[in-house]
Amino acid sequence: MSTPGNETTAVSTQPARRRSLGAWRNPGIWLTLVTVLLVSAWPVLTQKASTREVIFTMLLSVVLASSLNIILGYTGYVSFGHVVFFGIGGYLGLYLMSTFGSSLWIAIIAGGIAAGLLAFLLGKAILRLRGAYFALATIGVNEAMRAFINNFKPFGGPIGLSLNFQVYQDYGGAAKALWLSYYLLVSITVGSILLSYLVKSSKFGLGLVAIREDEDAAEVMGVITPNAKTWAYVLSAILPGMVGVLFFFKNGNIEPTDAFRLHFSIELLVMVMLGGFGTVLGPIIGAAGYQRLRGFLLTSQLFKDIQLSVAGVLLLVIILFIPAGAVGWLRHRFPALRRVLP
């Protein structure tokens, strides 16, 4: 999976002693975090629910795309079923909340753990497959999981689970609960960006990139590839599991078709590609850009009926002519930017 613009950062090739501090000297990561926080603060300042919803969708995509990027961009494994972690986290979280009356906090942590555990077990099995075989297996896992949950009685089968309205009383009513979910999502987003950056600038991340470029060579050079891949998969699954709980908590109900929407997984791939895979900034820009574009197409008079086609044409143009994505292209075109664009 080598494309121009995916060189490892200068940071990760520095000696180990300097790296521990060097990672934090990169202005790019601070700039990214500040920008994300400023954008997140906007609905808080204006107190408008509609802007909050727009930013919520955007941040949700940022978390999912950044997480996907760990296994897709750094390690080079194309996962078509990443939404499975989002769905399983959401299901377990809502199950705990609706059946055992557990709090949102416990549900979120449980969702993350469940997704991580699933990724660990799946990873042990399907990460042995390479290339398109892995991609196909992830589609299979997603569909098998959806079909299974559809028949799984404790999770409500095809009807799914819904939360009693009373649940929101514990958090000061439905309106307050929505704001609470928003704040939690903002903190998870910051966490996902930090995670993505830390993985990329660590020795572990360097091993992942080596796997992406040439798995056999990486193994010869001393990367324990099965472990590295499995942990990358686990790391890319935990946060999606947590935001799954948040999203469906806010929604109030969960159904198999919503939780395991294959199309959503592919949208995530598109976001990562748009921004530039294998970069920290890429998925963030890609996710925000994609959601903005989608919002624009859906509301414009001219495009609203054929918004999917317009998005398809744009995607095709990007794949054919700028395969490295926006950030990858910038890094390739202006080498000086490589130091600042993580």
Binding site: M1, I126, G140, E143, R146, L269, Q307, L316, I319
Partner: protein, 288 residues
């Protein structure tokens, strides 16, 4: 006893459907075998095939089985067009590029299809009567569809193994660089293979439309079935796909006699992942 009756009712139906599924999967697996591209626009093309039958039969009054020839020709041309526009540039790129390129074609077709045809169900009201053997009833349309699927498979086999372009396709599938050195115009052969793959998808869609209602999104589930079948029969092995289709059809015929129908996809996809893990070359594939 009740189960045996159920089995007698559903198994023959499942087997007949299996041939049509196999035909769709053959298109997917042919493209994979020749150029290592998983065609994610497979589903929408199946759906376009369905609408082909609808427009030719309901609007133009052409017999659905005569219309198949026209649909096949259009499918071939559409495939060549998709190859030239979307696939050719990424043919040597990493898998992600070709997957997303074909997926963008999927989005374009679905987007336009939804705008023009909406997502409400269409139905081709066409009947050939039915055949009754004991407690088993076979629908005429399904019998003919299975027959057509077998004929198409036979034709594909003859084309691949008895004609010069077929030989070229096999050569390019085997080793593109070596084929080019032998003077085979590989780009044209790749375009032809992609066209043949979409042709098979469109024809299978046209056949399915004669007995199931459909809309523009219906292709998706057949695309997923095609994945399962292709893996069962060995990715890249068109003849294996026909047997894979039969296995899937048989499963769909047997499972409802013992479990609720909703368990069918669980078993199908679990089997799919299992086969990928244990025998990625498929049940009939050679060891790699």
């Amino acid at each position: 006893m009740q189960q045996i009756n159920l089995l007698l009712a559903s198994l023959p139906d499942g087997i007949l459907l299996g041939f049509v599924y196999g035909l769709a999967a053959m298109g997917l697996t042919l493209i994979w075998g020749v150029m290592n591209v998983i065609n994610l626009s497979h589903g929408p093309i199946i759906a376009l095939g369905m609408f082909g039958t609808y427009f030719l039969f309901i609007r133009a009054g052409i017999n659905p089985y005569l219309g198949l020839f026209l649909i096949a020709a259009l499918g071939l041309l559409l495939g060549i067009l998709i190859y030239v526009v979307a696939v050719h540039r990424v043919i040597n790129a990493p898998h992600l590029s070709s997957l997303l390129a074909t997926f963008s074609v999927n989005m374009i077709i679905i987007g336009l299809g939804t705008a023009i045809l909406t997502t409400s169900p269409y139905n081709v009201d066409f009947s050939l009567g039915s055949l009754k053997i004991g407690s088993t009833t076979l629908l005429g349309t399904r019998l003919v569809a299975a027959l057509v699927a077998i004929l198409y498979s036979a034709a594909l086999y003859l084309f691949l193994y008895r004609t010069r372009p077929g030989k070229y396709i096999r050569a390019v599938a085997n080793n593109r660089a070596a084929a080019e050195l032998m003077g085979i115009p590989s780009s044209r052969i790749l375009a032809l293979s992609f066209g043949l793959g979409t042709m098979l998808a469109a024809v299978s869609g046209a056949l399915i439309a004669t007995f199931f209602p459909f809309n523009i999104l219906s292709g998706g589930s057949y695309e997923l079935k095609s994945f399962v079948i292709s893996v069962l029969g060995g990715l890249g092995n068109p003849i294996g796909a026909l047997f894979g289709g039969l296995i899937l059809g048989t499963l769909e015929g047997i499972i409802p006699a013992f479990l609720e129908t909703t368990w069918v996809p669980v078993i199908e996809f679990a089997l799919f992942v299992l086969i990928l893990l244990i025998r990625p070359s498929g049940l009939f594939g050679a060891e790699e």
